[in-house]
């Protein structure tokens, strides 16, 4: 029983790249392993799915020098703009909230935004609108940054911009 569980875990956790990331030289062995993995896991697939298990672990899989920095700005009715949150600046009002590890997981992008990015922006904007009666619009954006030879460069270009206005559904 224990041996069976170990074998099953190894099959599930077998480190083969997903189909869209398979390199040419990997295609040979991946095309052999993947059908076996699928066939073995079919009767047991419900276990990792329901209990949210996996034996594939990756911490900082890529760690590329091109990263993002979240910036959230608020604009008041008279056009004044202020930074509500900027990653790396703990002095901002909402730093503890936004950087909580689970909250960060919902907005921290890979090379694309997370599936909860829009929901997060909507919730956070409503929270700021409730806390600050003068704020009318909110901007959420991720600045592209680059790190090389010990120096961090802010590129001044942004990605995944979102805008929320007071009263917007």
């Amino acid at each position: 029983m224990i041996a069976f569980a170990i074998v099953l875990a190894l099959v599930e956790g077998c480190p083969i790249p997903p189909p869209h990331e398979t390199l040419t030289w990997q295609q040979g062995y991946v095309s052999l392993i993947r059908p076996v993995q699928r066939a073995v896991m079919t009767p047991f697939a419900w276990i990792p799915k329901r209990l949210r298990f996996t034996q594939r672990f990756a911490l900082f899989q890529a760690a590329e020098p091109d990263r993002f920095r979240l910036e959230i700005r608020a604009r008041t009715g008279d056009g004044t703009e202020r930074v509500v949150f900027r990653a790396g600046d703990d002095a901002t009002e909402y730093a503890a909230l936004v950087t909580q590890r689970r909250v960060r997981g919902t907005w921290n992008p890979t090379n694309k935004p997370t599936s909860q990015w829009v929901s997060f922006a909507r919730w956070f904007a409503n929270r700021v609108f409730a806390d600050h009666a003068d704020v009318q619009t909110m901007t959420f954006r991720l600045e592209r940054i680059h790190f090389e030879d010990g120096t961090l460069t802010n590129t001044g270009t942004y990605a995944f911009d979102l805008y929320r206005s007071r009263g917007q559904r």
Binding site: I2, A3, A5, I6, A9, G13, P15, P17, R50, L51, R52, F53, T54, Q55, R56, F57, A58, L59, F60, Q61, A62, A63, E64, P65, R67, F68, R69, L70, A87, G88, A96, L97, T99, Q100, R101, R102, V103, R104, G105, T106, N108, T114, S115, Q116, S119, F120, R122, W123, F124, N126, R127, I145, F147, D149, G150, T151, L152
Partner: protein, 324 residues
């Protein structure tokens, strides 16, 4: 001959998983893992984030999920997970607590998938293994109650859950190593991965200014991380050599003389403490370190326990100070 060998191998395998040992290592894992979980769940409540993380829009930024958690709502499922975590720390209805934690944590993961990190998966797996173990045979309310009822629990428990957790720990590191794909983790990419992570404002604890000076050290640390993760299966050999040191063999003697098992553990400790100091990854380093008692040979824990008891006996009794 082959049949005999097969039978011998099968017997050795069955004997391995049938061994018994003191419950101390598993009890320590139970307590540390439970503590990490309690701190994590309390942190969400402290920041008033339960509803935000787990409720579907517009109340929060979770996702609509049609599970049993729906009936309890975000606060209900969170509370169930917290109570189960307390049950795990204290060893109260331990097996039930472990199963409940596993189910509640999985439910929370469904309710907000991106709020879920690798460490949550790991701790769920650990809870599942602990549910099947006798980790409550020591330092638990269950053991206390059983002793009061005149049916004390034996400290001698099946060792296989600890072996399984040991394998799991080694696999986590190895899997982490082989799933790393970016060039910065390797010499051809300059081993700049750790510097890149330490400079990432989303996770870095300090301003990246210090990296200008420390770049060479971070390159060495990156290479060490890869060696540590990819070499994790070697720990099983080091452990085996240490546990069977009475047997001969040059390799065994060399590994034991160089204390490679302890070197590996020390690198692991440094790795996680480095993460805890330099990055804001929440419970990840602590959750991993909570599993480290399974790396110890039972004799080492027994010796530590005996040493603790001897110190208690040797210590002079506290006397009330004289009023004069």
């Amino acid at each position: 001959m082959t049949g005999d060998r097969m039978r011998g191998a099968w017997r050795a395998w069955a004997d391995l998983w049938d061994r018994r040992e003191d419950a101390a290592a598993l009890a320590l894992v139970r307590i540390f893992v439970g503590l990490v979980l309690v701190v994590d769940y309390v942190d969400i409540w402290r920041l008033d984030l339960v509803e935000a993380i787990y409720a579907a829009p517009p109340d929060g930024f979770g996702v609509a999920y049609d599970g049993w958690g729906q009936a309890l709502g975000p606060h209900g499922v969170w509370l169930v997970a917290l109570v189960a975590s307390i049950g795990i720390v204290t060893g109260t209805l331990t097996r039930v607590s472990c199963v409940v934690l596993l189910l509640a944590s999985a439910q929370l993961a469904h309710m907000s998938p991106n709020a879920e990190r690798g460490i949550d998966t790991i701790l769920r797996i650990v809870a599942g293994v602990l549910a099947l173990s006798r980790c409550h045979a020591r330092w638990s309310v269950d053991a206390f109650v059983r002793a009061k009822l005149g049916r004390p629990m034996s400290h001698d428990v099946p060792a296989w859950p600890r072996y399984l957790l040991l394998l799991q720990l080694v696999w986590i590191y190895f899997s982490g190593g082989i799933n790393k794909g970016g060039a910065p983790w390797f010499p051809h990419g300059g081993c700049t991965a750790l510097a890149n992570i330490f400079a990432d404002p989303h996770v870095a604890r300090f301003d990246p200014g210090w990296l200008e000076v420390a770049m060479p050290f971070t390159r060495i640390a990156t290479a060490m991380t890869m060696l540590f993760e990819l070499g994790a299966p070697l720990y099983l050999a080091f452990y085996y050599f240490d546990a069977t040191r009475e047997r001969g063999g040059r390799l065994r003697a060399l590994c034991n003389r160089l204390r490679l098992r302890w070197v590996w553990i020390a690198v692991g400790l440094a790795f996680h403490l480095g993460i805890a100091i330099g990055m804001r990854l929440g419970i990840f380093p602590w959750g991993m370190l909570a599993l480290y008692p399974v790396l110890l040979v039972p004799d080492e824990i027994r010796r530590a326990l005996r040493l603790g008891q001897r110190r208690k006996i040797d210590a002079p009794a506290n006397r009330a100070s004289s009023p004069s």
